[in-house]
């Protein structure tokens, strides 16, 4: 095994999950314009929905995953309608929304812990059953290839929809200026709801991916959210392609750091990169 190849592949595997996180976060952030911490908990909602359907009830894999994503989407939409919408109507500041989102994160995590306990759970089947591919001496599993493909497909879909379709233009209009968009006849509330639904579905898929790759815990969300945010900021916040590029850059830097120094430096390196970007290139690699 060539160590460099394997380290690069490890970065690609981690980057695939970060890119899903960044895609969902970017979509919500660029439209709603506040730091939605609750998004983190929706990753766990996706993961635990699949855990319940696929592992406890024994339903087939694909419907379980689709339903898990929908569950995360519905919950994300519901939170936006029940919590964020009244606050926005009241012209609450972003700080208030941030605190409300922190509350959402905590409540969802606690709810999952009550329903499923705080234990670490896995989603995948026996690892030996899994198809693995060898690329230039490095190993990657089928699950990981699928996660990577899902991330790239969602990236292209989002990019195209946002750029070329009527709905996409409406989303961008709301993102630019909610009031003006409302004046020209766009139903901003519905657009906002839709954005939360789709963004949360992507977040849910990220959680499901983590569950299949390693495992899930009720408190998994915050750490994942932060990685998604760092990826989004590196790439250029609000930029669909930038988020994905940022995700792979982050994963690469983390894994090279873990290789050259030691594993425990991974998070420190990730946040150091974040600080460097915030200081010297706040608009990210691609800007907006």
């Amino acid at each position: 095994m060539d160590i460099v190849v394997q380290i690069l592949l490890n970065a690609v595997i981690a980057g695939a999950i970060y890119s899903l996180l960044a895609l969902g976060f970017n979509l919500i952030y660029s439209t709603a314009r506040f730091f939605d911490l609750g998004y983190g908990a929706l990753t766990a909602v996706g993961g635990y929905s699949v855990f319940f359907l696929y592992k406890i009830l024994g339903l087939p894999l694909i419907p379980s995953i689709i339903f898990g994503m929908i569950m995360a989407g519905i919950l994300g939409w519901g939170v936006s309608e029940l919590v964020y919408r009244p606050l926005r109507a009241r012209k609450a500041s972003n700080t208030v929304l941030l605190v409300a989102a922190l509350g959402v994160l905590t409540v969802i995590q606690a709810g999952i812990a009550i329903l499923f306990t705080s234990q670490f759970q896995t989603l995948s089947r026996y690892v030996a059953e899994q198809q693995t591919y060898t690329i230039l001496g490095g190993v990657i599993t089928q699950t990981q290839v699928l996660i990577l493909a899902a991330g790239l497909i969602i990236m292209v879909l989002l990019g195209v929809v946002l750029k070329y379709t009527r709905v996409g233009k409406a989303v961008r209009a709301v993102a630019d200026d909610e009031e003006v968009a409302t004046i020209v006849g766009i139903n901003a509330q519905r657009i906002m709801g839709g954005v939360f639904f789709v963004g949360s579905m992507i977040g849910g898929l990220a959680g499901i991916s983590v569950g299949f790759d390693t495992g899930i815990q009720p408190t998994m969300g915050l750490a994942l959210l932060l990685k998604g945010v760092i990826a989004a900021i590196i790439g250029g916040i609000g930029n669909v392609w930038g988020g994905v590029i940022g995700a792979f850059v982050l994963a690469l830097v983390e894994n090279l750091g873990a290789w050259q120094f030691s594993g425990e430096w991974k998070d420190a390196i990730a946040f150091l990169v974040l600080i460097l970007f915030l200081l010297f290139r706040p608009k990210g690699i691609l800007g907006k």
Partner: protein, 371 residues
């Protein structure tokens, strides 16, 4: 009369009443029940440890009181939830020491709770029997005793087992970066190199990290014959999966965090070894616990029982005077216990004779491993 004066008089009254209560209250405890404290995780992730301990404590208290108590006085246990956290530990100990004025304490089970709480017990000179395994906890003072083997011994035992019994001379380590993991890493590598073995690579990992591919990739290129993995359950599961994916096909051996369902119930962990303190838990004892308290005895239940028994026999000899009680506990040689065949303490308060065993994950459960 001005408000200032009223407040002043009220304050004096409060001080007098409280002072009187403290004086006479103290006198009362000489004939009333003797209180001991139990600082255990009763909520949160580690709540099961607290519940296991509680079964043993309750059985011991019941048996002691049924036989007439301690020199005619009943034994009473005050339970406090330390939630396995540092703040929980200090809150629990503050309440037990100041409000309940206990004569001795059993627990904590968790090292994070114990580290900030034990200095309080030492300040009050209240003998405390801990289960928490982080080395150094017993050095906090002479009132701290440990009835579970310290991590120093566990790391040493693992090193000797790997080198002597398994005959592996080149070992890599992937450990959790917390007090427990670093403690095991340090003692393992010290003993292993002393025996003549080589540590090919040693990598730390954040306690919550589950993507351990890059550390494992590095470990794989260092060509070890075995990997020592003192990690928590989630990290252990991640290593089980990812080492196999990366083709790292050498034996894995971890520590006592692996003896939980969340680790053993995952198919990928099948065949992984771990070291753990060997606590006897006879069927007879389990039946007694079940009959008296209605709960099923778990791994730590015998320790709860023995902890109370040791305190009770010291109280019988020495009474509640803290210094005499401490001396009596330090001189303990307890051979009728249900956890270890002999509990007696080193100068620093650690167990003199600790026994460990190797367990292996098999079919979703852990079982004792004999070559």
């Amino acid at each position: 009369m001005s408000t200032t004066k009223t407040v002043g008089i009220l304050m004096i009254l409060v001080v007098l009443v409280a002072g009187g209560w403290a004086l006479f209250g103290k006198g009362d405890t000489q004939t009333g029940p003797i209180r001991i404290g139990a600082s255990l995780p009763l909520t949160g992730d580690a709540a099961s440890y607290g519940e296991m301990m509680r079964g043993g404590i309750e059985l011991a208290v019941k048996e002691i009181n049924d036989q007439g108590g301690i020199n005619g006085r009943q034994l009473e246990v005050v339970y406090e939830d330390d939630a396995c956290s540092p703040t929980g530990g200090t809150t629990a100990f503050t309440k037990l020491l100041d409000a309940d004025q206990v004569s001795a304490i059993v627990g904590p089970v968790c090292s994070p709770s114990a580290a900030p709480a034990l200095p309080l017990a030492q300040q009050h000179h209240v003998p405390t029997l801990i289960i928490a395994s982080a080395p150094g906890l017993t050095d906090i003072g002479d009132d701290i005793f440990r009835i579970y083997p310290s991590d120093l011994l566990q790391g040493k035992f693992a090193a000797e087992y790997v080198f002597n019994t398994l005959g592996k001379k080149k070992v890599a380590i992937l450990y959790a970066k917390d007090e427990w993991g670093t403690g095991l890493e340090k003692t393992f590598s010290a003993r292993f190199t002393e025996l003549g073995g080589t540590i090919t690579d040693s990598e730390g990992a954040d306690v919550n990290a589950t993507d351990l591919r890059t550390p494992l990739t590095k470990i794989k290129t260092s060509n070890p014959e075995l990997v020592y993995i003192p990690l928590h359950a989630s990290g252990g599961v991640a290593v089980a999966k990812q080492s196999r994916q990366l083709g790292l096909a050498v034996p894995l051996i971890g520590g006592d965090y692996f003896d939980t369902k969340e680790f053993t119930s995952v198919v990928d962990t099948n065949g992984i070894f771990f070291t753990i303190g060997k606590i006897n838990n006879s069927d007879d004892f389990k039946a007694r616990v079940k009959a008296a308290t209605g709960v099923d005895a778990g791994l730590l239940t015998p320790l709860g029982y023995d902890g109370v028994e040791i305190i009770a026999s010291a109280l019988k000899q020495a009474g509640t005077n803290p210094e005499k009680l401490r001396q009596a506990i330090a001189a303990t040689s307890y051979t009728t216990g249900v956890s270890f065949p002999n509990i007696s303490f080193e100068q620093n308060g650690d167990l003199k004779a600790a026994q460990f065993e190797i367990r292996v994950v098999k079919n979703g459960k852990s079982e004792s491993y004999v070559e």
